[in-house]
């Protein structure tokens, strides 16, 4: 837009947004629809998708499954980031949950009904335990550690041959059918989204954001930072370990590649593209990125190049993320307004 000195750009709430804010939405069906429809449509689409089995090819069902797995990891990343912990190694949780499920299934013979919940909680406990002493670190040190830890675990498993070594554990019990898998993941994703958003709105969630903004002040207020961070890690680890356990049973296999870099880069990119901090942004980012990367599968490593470039672009140029951009456009519009003349009150 041209720089007209007599005007400035301003953003105003749309009429319908102003009318449907708060309880006033129930005044008219149109206002109610404005508020509810986007969420309702998204949730209904997710819930109805598995029922379209007759029309949709199994390949796209797989794509949506993968998307949901990455969405869970991205949500977990987002929670950690909202507490100031930048994780460059989400694959740690995937590996912890995956191996826990693999161990319970292969060595103890439990069915997925038991292994998945146990692995979710157990894997989260183990990962939090591993990270606990390192939670006192600030800034980029946490990033470095999360980058190094999955690689370390991968090498340890490779060299000790523990839990299957390089060959991994395979022939594990599969899940009962595609539809069950889709519904399980959809339910997990929806529960996580609701839980995390609710959490962010409570006082408890407020403490996390305070730690991110200025932890020494929070320390001065009497909170034990390390404990609080540990709780954040535990909560964030739950959906991520669930995703790991799920993937283990879906492919009937878990190996050291559960700690692979791909599981760390993809959620990170999804969350940044969608908009770090708003949990729905992470989900939206994964719904954009994962199908895109599947379409580009023919191009091999080029897709990793492309997501790194997208990550770069969004971090540097568009840090707000797509989701926040869309929300802003949905609720506000921009216009050029004349500046008030000097001397005249407003």
């Amino acid at each position: 837009m041209s720089r007209d000195p007599g005007r400035r750009r301003e953003r105003l709430d749309r009429g319908i947004k102003a009318r449907s804010d708060d309880i006033f939405a129930i005044a008219s069906i149109r206002d109610l629809a404005y508020v509810l429809l986007p969420r309702l449509l998204a949730v209904l689409a997710l819930l109805a998708f598995p029922l379209l089995e007759a029309v949709v090819s199994p390949y796209w069902q797989t794509v949506i499954l993968n998307t949901l797995v990455i969405a869970l990891l991205a949500l977990s990343w987002d929670l950690l980031a909202s507490a100031g912990l930048v994780s460059l190694g989400q694959s740690l949780f995937v590996g912890a949950g995956g191996y826990a499920a693999g161990f319970l299934n292969a060595r103890l013979g439990l069915s997925p009904l038991w292994t998945i919940p146990l692995a979710t909680v157990g894997g989260a406990a183990i990962s939090t335990g591993l990270l606990f002493p390192l939670l006192r670190l600030r800034g980029i040190y946490f990033g470095m550690i999360t980058f190094a830890l999955p690689l370390l675990l991968m090498r340890v498993i490779e060299t000790t041959g523990f839990l299957g070594g390089t060959e991994g554990l395979h022939g594990l019990t599969p899940l009962p059918g595609r539809t069950a898998e889709l519904y399980l993941m959809t339910a997990a994703a929806l529960v996580t989204i609701v839980a995390f958003r609710r959490l962010a709105a409570t006082d408890y969630g407020l403490v996390f954001r305070a730690i991110r903004d200025d932890d020494r002040t929070v320390l001065a207020a009497g909170f034990h930072i390390q404990w609080r961070k540990a709780q954040a890690v535990l909560l964030a680890a739950l959906p991520a370990c669930f995703a790991g356990a799920f993937v283990t049973h879906r492919f009937q296999f878990v190996g050291m590649t559960a700690f692979a870099l791909d599981y760390s880069i993809l959620p990170l990119t999804s969350a940044v593209v969608g908009g770090a901090g708003s949990f729905l942004g992470a989900v939206m980012g994964s719904f954009i990125l994962v199908p895109l990367s599947e379409v580009m599968r023919e191009f091999g490593s080029l897709r990793v190049v492309l997501y790194s470039l997208m990550l770069l672009l969004f971090t540097v140029v568009l840090p707000e993320g797509i989701f926040r951009l869309l929300v802003r456009k949905y609720g506000q519009f921009e216009r050029l307004a004349p500046l008030p003349e000097a001397g005249r009150g407003r």
Partner: protein, 294 residues
């Protein structure tokens, strides 16, 4: 351990330590001077190797010319990296790390996609032949590496202590606002430190890659080595980095000769994890403890 294994461990351990130091030099310099953790270090290292290879094999340039051109080009690239990618997010640690990490991954995976994965990619050694050191046969190239590594470290130490540019950079890293008051431009200082760091990565690549082949995973390994050594030794501390590289270098060779080479990489990673857990500012780091952890 038999006598010749001991001698070999000492000699190869020394060479390995200097090699690690050389790899980490660029990263540590950038981190120490401008506070930017350049996670693209590994990508730049790999890029230098392939660029030198392309200049030698496609443009048929003689090796010294190709080496110089590569160092200059990658140094310039480092400056561009700062200007385009880091300057908009300067100060936001999260974004700096993610953006440099993304650049690094993009470079490495681009080469993988282009198919630079076979054995054909290798750089020539500087001097053929070998020499006997303490009864251990060592090739001349490794001797050159030791020379370059130690020489470069000494040069940089002198640079940051006795030249005005070097002093300006150090001043900027010690206290940014005072340096600004004295007329040292923060952006220029950061750009210079990034350019220097990248050029050093290029030098390390050209010196170290002839020992083997230019394999794509070297990109990630170089970054890990740089992280391990820098974290172990501490920031803003050249002696710390040297001690760090010697510790990790000898630990690796010792493990390889006694327990088994499969544990080599575990050593680096364990080093990072342990040091960050016990003393994050590193063995010789002078950062205040509260800066690093709560």
């Amino acid at each position: 351990m038999s006598e010749s294994i001991l001698a070999s461990t000492l000699v190869y351990g020394f060479v390995n330590s200097v090699a690690l130091m050389l790899t980490a030099l660029g990263f540590s310099l950038t981190f120490g001077l401008s506070g930017v953790a350049n996670f693209a270090h590994g990508g730049l290292y790999l890029l230098s190797g392939f660029l030198a290879w392309m200049l030698i094999h496609w443009l048929k340039l003689p090796f010294p010319l190709a080496a110089l051109a590569t160092v200059a080009a990658v140094g310039a690239l480092g400056a561009v990296l700062y200007r385009v990618v880091l300057r908009p997010v300067r100060g936001i640690v999260l974004s700096e790390v993610i953006s440099t990490f993304a650049v690094g991954v993009a470079i490495i995976e681009l080469f993988r996609w282009k198919g630079f994965t076979t054995y054909d990619f290798s750089l020539p050694v500087f001097v053929e032949g070998g020499v006997e050191v303490f009864g251990v046969s060592l090739d001349w190239h490794r001797v050159c590496i030791v020379g370059i590594g130690l020489g470069l470290t000494a040069l940089l130490w002198a640079f940051t202590r006795f030249t005005s540019t070097g002093l300006a950079l150090r001043g900027m890293s010690q206290n940014e606002s005072t340096a600004l008051c004295l007329g040292i431009d923060s952006d220029w200082a950061a750009m210079l430190s990034l350019a220097l760091g990248s050029a050093l990565a290029a030098v390390a690549a050209i010196a170290l890659l002839p020992l083997g082949i230019i394999s794509i995973n070297t990109g990630y390994d170089a970054l890990l080595v740089a992280l391990a050594v820098t974290v172990l030794g501490g920031l803003e501390s050249t002696p710390g980095m040297m001690v760090g590289s010697f510790l990790v270098g000898y630990a690796t060779v010792l493990t390889g000769n006694t327990i088994g080479p499969r544990w080599n990489e575990v050593v680096y990673l364990l080093a990072i994890v342990l040091v960050l857990g016990l003393k994050p500012s590193g063995l010789f780091g002078r950062s205040k403890e509260l800066e690093d952890r709560v």
